[in-house]
């Protein structure tokens, strides 16, 4: 019986992230538009975009190989699996026994690898530029993310996100400077990975400094819909990781009954709204940086991750 309940929770969570991801992106766009004194598209616009793209025909370049056609499905699948591993409203997900936080980083890394391959596949110069820049960002963002993961794992004594969230909720943690450093580092990584404003501009289509859009320029129809859905999911995933690790209050602990689960969903949606609002304010307040400054930006994130781990050793020794 317990297994059935766990399975239901897991499935509910998978569907919840899939359903909420476009809404979250639409919410961030709406808040950004309001901050600029504009009306902005309706909240449901991302869903409509996805539906429209799904109905359209796929236009393939003559030089496209099978890699180009397979990549969108793999990117979407790996991102969705990674997103379903994160305890959004309840801990004790059944999948989290199979994969820990390092596996999530690896899943996201393989999604990025396939996206970069697809960008190179058609052979346009724009796709090549996008792929090479994406790899530049990834080579710094991934170690930074891993250092943050190590900090959290050292503190919680586990690499499983469910256990980390549960143990950081406890009174044992206290006031940790390392956690603050890890939070800032993770936010910087999230901004770079999701192509948000200081690093890349998600709203533009034709600009010489763009990274993510340059790679997917050749995609159309359902392929583009899958890639767009994957990038919505990825944004939601990072916000959920930050919410469940650094602000774990209100998550339903496994075995608390259905009422706790509904409460968990409510708290989760409230956290997402807060996170989306902060993201929109940050993006409106800051200007995009030059591509060559991105290395410094992510280098700082990596440095914060290292520093968080090192400082943790001092506390653990005492």
């Amino acid at each position: 019986m317990a297994i059935v309940l766990d399975l239901v929770v897991q499935l509910g969570q998978m569907l919840l992230v899939l359903a909420l991801a476009p809404l979250f992106a639409g919410f961030v766009r709406k808040v950004k538009a309001h901050l600029l004194r504009r009306q902005g598209p309706p909240l449901m616009q991302p869903y409509r975009e996805l539906l429209r793209l799904l109905r359209k025909d796929v236009v393939l370049a003559h030089s496209a190989s099978w890699v180009f056609r397979v990549a969108p499905y793999l990117i979407f699948a790996t991102t969705w699996v990674a997103a379903s591993l994160i305890p959004t409203f309840a801990t004790g997900l059944i999948f989290s026994h199979a994969a820990d936080m390092i596996a999530i980083v690896a899943l996201l890394g393989s999604a990025r690898f396939m996206l970069a391959l697809a960008g190179l596949d058609v052979g346009t110069s724009f796709g090549g530029i996008g792929s090479s820049r994406e790899m530049l960002i990834a080579s710094l963002a991934e170690p930074a993310m891993l250092m943050v993961v190590f900090t959290l794992s050292l503190l919680a004594g586990s690499t499983q996100l469910s256990s980390i969230a549960a143990s950081l909720q406890g009174p044992e943690v206290g006031l940790r400077f390392s956690l603050a450093l890890a939070l800032i580092g993770l936010v910087m990584v999230a901004i770079a990975e999701n192509a948000r404003i200081p690093v890349d501009n998600p709203a533009t289509h034709l600009e010489l400094t763009m990274v993510h859009e340059a790679m997917i320029l050749e995609y159309s129809g359902r392929h583009l819909a899958l890639i767009e859905a994957a990038s919505f999911l990825k944004l939601l995933l990072y916000v959920s990781v930050i919410a469940c690790v650094f602000f774990p209050w209100g998550i339903a602990i496994a075995g608390q009954g259905p009422l706790a689960y509904f409460g968990g969903v409510g708290v989760y949606v409230a956290k997402l709204a807060a996170g989306g609002f902060l993201l929109a304010v940050f993006e409106t307040a800051i200007a995009k940086m030059r591509v060559f400054r991105v290395a410094d930006f992510l280098g700082a994130a990596l440095m914060l991750g290292f520093l968080a781990t090192l400082l943790l050793f001092v506390t653990l020794a005492g």
């Binding site: 940790r176 400077f177 280098g299 990596l302 520093l307 090192l310 001092v314 005492g318």
Partner: protein
């Protein structure tokens, strides 16, 4: 001593290491001086908190000296010097922020590895103070050797002194007279360095210390 008090002490001392990294990261003169003021502010907060938890009232005076002299007077004087030298708008060409950062991380790891076993018997607070103080000191030295501009070297030198104050706070029984004399020697050093800066500028038309190397015939 309870957990929370220790954690707050850890927060301030760790924050000082972080601000040292921010000093390494800054390449604008005005930003550098402002970050140095933040450095001094964090050190004075750290000292004040430790005065509170160690019940050592003379440390409050140390904190006040650090606050007034190094967070207000010296940054103000440095701003004046920078404006008068006409370098307040220049962006310093720092050789490889990434490499400097990595070297800095290595230094922090080194000082933690060295200090934790050595100071194991001195108590948790002194142990972490010493480890962080050595990190700040080494980062200041790193800043002095990685920068070419004389003003940033001066700031590196001053940040070393902040590390020393942190170390002295952790050690019990540091007499107040030493603190005061150190603070005044820093002020005197600032005056001497200021005079030197203008002399260098007069002689070479720049405060880039590589001009000095060339003058001595060391390297092109």
């Amino acid at each position: 001593m309870d957990r929370l008090a220790l954690d707050v002490a850890h927060l301030f001392a760790g924050g000082l290491v972080l601000v040292s990294f921010m000093l390494l990261y800054q390449d604008r003169m005005t930003g550098l001086v402002n970050t140095f003021a933040l450095h001094a502010l964090v050190v004075s907060l750290s000292v004040a908190w430790q005065a509170h938890i160690q019940h050592a009232p003379h440390l409050y005076i140390t904190a006040a000296i650090a606050l007034v002299v190094k967070a207000i007077v010296i940054p103000f004087a440095l701003h004046r010097i920078i404006v008068r030298l006409g370098i307040h708008r220049t962006i310093e060409v720092v050789v490889g922020i990434g490499q400097t950062m990595l070297a800095g991380i290595g230094l922090v790891a080194l000082s933690i590895m060295v200090m934790l076993p050595i100071a194991a018997k001195a108590g948790t607070l002194a142990q972490q103070d010493l480890a962080f103080a050595l990190s700040v000191l080494l980062l200041g030295l790193l800043m002095m050797i990685s920068r070419r501009n004389a003003v940033s070297q001066v700031i590196g030198f001053m940040s070393i002194e902040n590390g020393l104050i942190l170390a002295a706070t952790g050690a019990k029984g540091m007499p107040l007279v030493v603190e005061i004399s150190v603070a005044f020697s820093i002020l005197v050093a600032l005056i001497v360095i200021g005079v030197f800066l203008f002399r260098i500028r007069e002689r070479f038309d720049t405060v880039d210390i590589h001009a000095l190397h060339e003058f001595r015939g060391e390297q092109p």
